[in-house]
Symmetry: D2
Subunit: 355 residues, 4 copies
Amino acid sequence: MPGNTFGKVFKVTTWGESHGKAIGAIVDGCIPGISLCEEDIQTELDLRKPNNSNFGTSRQEDDVVEILSGVFDGKTTGTPISMLVWNQDAKSEDYSKIKDIFRPGHADFTYETKYGIRDYRGGGRSSGRETIGRVMAGAIAKKILKEYKIKIIGHTLQIGPYKATTFCSKQIMKNDIRCADKNIAPQMIEYIEKIRKDGDSVGGIIEIIVKNMICGLGEPVFDKLSANLAKALMSIGSVKGFEIGLGFNSAEMLGSENNDEFYIDKNKNIGTKTNNSGGILGGISNGENLVLKIAVKPTATINKTQKTVNKNKSEKEINVIGRHDACIVPRLIPVAESMVAITLMDHLLMQKTIA
Amino acid sequence: MPGNTFGKVFKVTTWGESHGKAIGAIVDGCIPGISLCEEDIQTELDLRKPNNSNFGTSRQEDDVVEILSGVFDGKTTGTPISMLVWNQDAKSEDYSKIKDIFRPGHADFTYETKYGIRDYRGGGRSSGRETIGRVMAGAIAKKILKEYKIKIIGHTLQIGPYKATTFCSKQIMKNDIRCADKNIAPQMIEYIEKIRKDGDSVGGIIEIIVKNMICGLGEPVFDKLSANLAKALMSIGSVKGFEIGLGFNSAEMLGSENNDEFYIDKNKNIGTKTNNSGGILGGISNGENLVLKIAVKPTATINKTQKTVNKNKSEKEINVIGRHDACIVPRLIPVAESMVAITLMDHLLMQKTIA
Amino acid sequence: MPGNTFGKVFKVTTWGESHGKAIGAIVDGCIPGISLCEEDIQTELDLRKPNNSNFGTSRQEDDVVEILSGVFDGKTTGTPISMLVWNQDAKSEDYSKIKDIFRPGHADFTYETKYGIRDYRGGGRSSGRETIGRVMAGAIAKKILKEYKIKIIGHTLQIGPYKATTFCSKQIMKNDIRCADKNIAPQMIEYIEKIRKDGDSVGGIIEIIVKNMICGLGEPVFDKLSANLAKALMSIGSVKGFEIGLGFNSAEMLGSENNDEFYIDKNKNIGTKTNNSGGILGGISNGENLVLKIAVKPTATINKTQKTVNKNKSEKEINVIGRHDACIVPRLIPVAESMVAITLMDHLLMQKTIA
Amino acid sequence: MPGNTFGKVFKVTTWGESHGKAIGAIVDGCIPGISLCEEDIQTELDLRKPNNSNFGTSRQEDDVVEILSGVFDGKTTGTPISMLVWNQDAKSEDYSKIKDIFRPGHADFTYETKYGIRDYRGGGRSSGRETIGRVMAGAIAKKILKEYKIKIIGHTLQIGPYKATTFCSKQIMKNDIRCADKNIAPQMIEYIEKIRKDGDSVGGIIEIIVKNMICGLGEPVFDKLSANLAKALMSIGSVKGFEIGLGFNSAEMLGSENNDEFYIDKNKNIGTKTNNSGGILGGISNGENLVLKIAVKPTATINKTQKTVNKNKSEKEINVIGRHDACIVPRLIPVAESMVAITLMDHLLMQKTIA
């Protein structure tokens, strides 16, 4: 059953394997007449590239976007926008020795069981490179949302035991870990470096804040904005949890504490004094900031010997020494932002059918 | 934009308002030839009824299901199954005084802004009664899943500060709070009773465990089983967080701790020694138990004076004295189980297109 | 696989069997704030009722619509509109003798083969009564389209060998066959009467004209307006052909004859001098009248002995003496108009996501 | 609103403009484990190429397919199959003079009105080159259907006034017009040649026969096989009519003539003696041959002066002297076959969710 399309109106389809010829995305349903060039997309794509920091993977590809359709004279035409990135650095020989073995924490076993066949080179479709398609499509969504003044800010809230306690948005791009707390950022980085040297990996928590939200987005009862954001973010590899507003903390709240009281602000608009709901009431945006959190598991690839099994149901040991990310969190931020942007764009266009 | 349908193959559409004539659901895509009668559905429906405990709402309706189509001679025919429950206890006059005012924590404001009109009686479509449709459809899914030996167990993990620390599935139906820890259950109930008397409400956490899972369910990259489960559960009113496996705790794990090592079990099947992933690898079920958690916010309706605003943008005070649930958690369990059942049923049928 | 939903934005789901409890429809995605009452729908429903003419079926039910949700204080609220008609006249005993036999021209054999089970009473889901759901949903679409001045006119173009040669829209409702040619209408009626007495049935051709069309509806390349209209109309039982504009006659045209030249009309609008295209260019409406034709096969039920087979693969003879329509054409007109209205409504809302 | 995807399970998305960089298609939902190589697709693609006959366009591109994903070690993996053809022969300068003018019979005016912008080079997305995507996807569908023994045969039934009266499938590939009647084929070709010299164009009728059909395909009530085939074929540019079985001729039939009587054949299977229905009962395939016809209008591009208007609402004359097809019919046959193959493949997989 096809599962590679997201959205109903701003419809994104992605394709491509880690070591195939290319990775691509189609956006069908994009508004016509929007200025769009490859640079708009390249900027976002560069943010998910392994950087020069110590905790990134050493695979160094130039992921260069190419727009193949849907744009004419620098503007979108309303027809499908096809984009791709060629895979440059694909060495298939690296992976032949793991073709029959199931790496713990990876999708090798489930793909093999589901499909009866799998492209074992670099994880195939389950590779992190799949997110290139999401970022390309997300770049278009972000560009349009900017015209609505909607701003999506992702940042690292936690790495292992290190938690940010202050938030200064200007700090985010100033450190490799994309943390808004300048005091904790160096400790996070140092911690990852230690983990990396040890051949291990570590997880974290990303927070995404959406500012200048439009009120009224979300389609009850199943396509609630919160439900589709949860799906969007949980569809990213390695994401294991999702929260909106107080999330799991709301379990310990009383109704009288948790309810956000309405008031009339200076501009005579209706707002809420607190934002425990994270910007959602009844599955519909209420105009306050969206506040989302996602939990990221530690990267499955580690440089340590692990017990596992192979296709022939023999128990084996595996130690895949090679390039890997000790911490995927900062590279997931543009991906998470992209999925939020795509979801918001989709809901924004859905709402046009009503208003 | 229509948002009242869930699923692609086992497709559930629900309709109905709290104080309209009826609440209903259509299941289109159900397998033909399945034995089905109204009692199968009534049993599940009774579980979401306000019970006689102190913390339930005092609204006492007999929610009696009626099957209108899709079943012939006691068997499903493959045509759409239409079911409804008539609303008996709808007193519209109760609600006229709140027709212009936006209750904090409720969807009044967002529905009004989104649609420009709303059925203010009892929350209309955003009422908890909407979940009747989900439970009716879920009952059918559960019945079919039972033939595959798949078992869905929901239970209360936490109410306010009280957390279950042991799990005995036989305890769940023995207490009103549906807690699997017989020691903490009375404290949870006592706590809710206290909150109720105080006119307040409280939230909690529900865990859902799925046993005897089939391997291979989930459609990467966007319709991952975990992503669709997140959407399914986050689409339930009051749910603010979702976790699978270790969830947010995985942020503090090392890869070497978090990866579930494969082994060959006694029956020569491939399994994992631990289940940190919660039964999902690469978005596809791996045959281990699914382990999901959802956070439930405290019920928005409380018997306390709250500040708010009305349609004319005047600040007001509101105190809706009336029936309400001090804690919705136990009544949400059958709803959450239903959404899990519908999602699994849908994915199970999707997988048939491959294998 | 579910197949009982039509449309993407104005989404119609129908359910119900000929001899089940009821027949129903849900419209999800209807614009909020539209005035709507049961009479709006009843009026359309009455047009598909067997009338008092000689060629109608003698089954005389009062198909009374009941709206169960989605309308509050006489207005649509944007939530799903659930409607149903109770089946009054269902006598199951009439059908027991045909439960194992496959009637020629009917769906008995294919339903049995497809689903392994079928509701044999009156054709079950494949009965003409299924169209009640379409007409109920279509009535809502028509009401909204009227606000856009869009007018849908269906009429009988041909019955057996009798073809209308003139068109006067005022004539359509003046005769039982709904023919716009007052001279041929009596001959059509007389012919059907003769056929009916003979226990036989006859087909015909319906033309549907849509006036005051909006330019720009249709979503290339697969959801062209013409493609979706074809699907909508071909999904009606007994319809075997579809044409737009010159249809099959365009095969004999030269390009120089067939191309509709553009000109500037009195109101300074762009129009075409001829309308060979039937109002569609590149799958998108061009503002000219839509002109569609559908071919209706003779009703499968006849009072004549026919050869056939039963479930046990024995050859049998069958002669179902009972009520039947000698000619279904006039009763299909409101159904066809409804499907056109639903399709246009859907495309009109789709276009809102662009403009 | 996105309209560039066809199908629910075997899901085809196409993209690309006539003079953009490339034309492509994605197939998501293809069965894993199928042998597939570029040559399988190239063979089909070559059939829609302008051939060396006198009536083809003089644009001579090598449309060479490239598979970019979804195939590993010569087999499909169940992940999306991305394919493209680079546009070689795109000379944008040819089209600058028509950028403000609306060609009669073309989609220039409707695209401009719908989207407010259009890629005027060679018709952009509305060009016949768009069908490359359909043929690439259709080639995969055909390959799989072949394993089910299902065979799709398209042929030219009529060109202008010349109608085939005999059918010999071996003749089809022996003449440029792909006619199964060897006597009429030369007359058709001669006629087109005459039309071409005159700068004009002509239409025709294509018949498609599907042999060795599986019984039980089609999803009532809206996704009937006949309805989706109608949509599939009517979505091809230039197609103005669709018939199944007797089509419009059934209007003149009596029920007693039209009903196909069932019988038990030599192999103890249930069949029908006649096939007036064209292989469909109640929207579901009955195992007999599918028999479909489509009407193709004369190509809109002609070498004659025509009256029209421009964007500024001035009346103009236009005479686009250039390459064009005097008759598109033979080149549409592989496209029509592809759309039938895609639709059948989709329904075949849908049926797997039931049986």
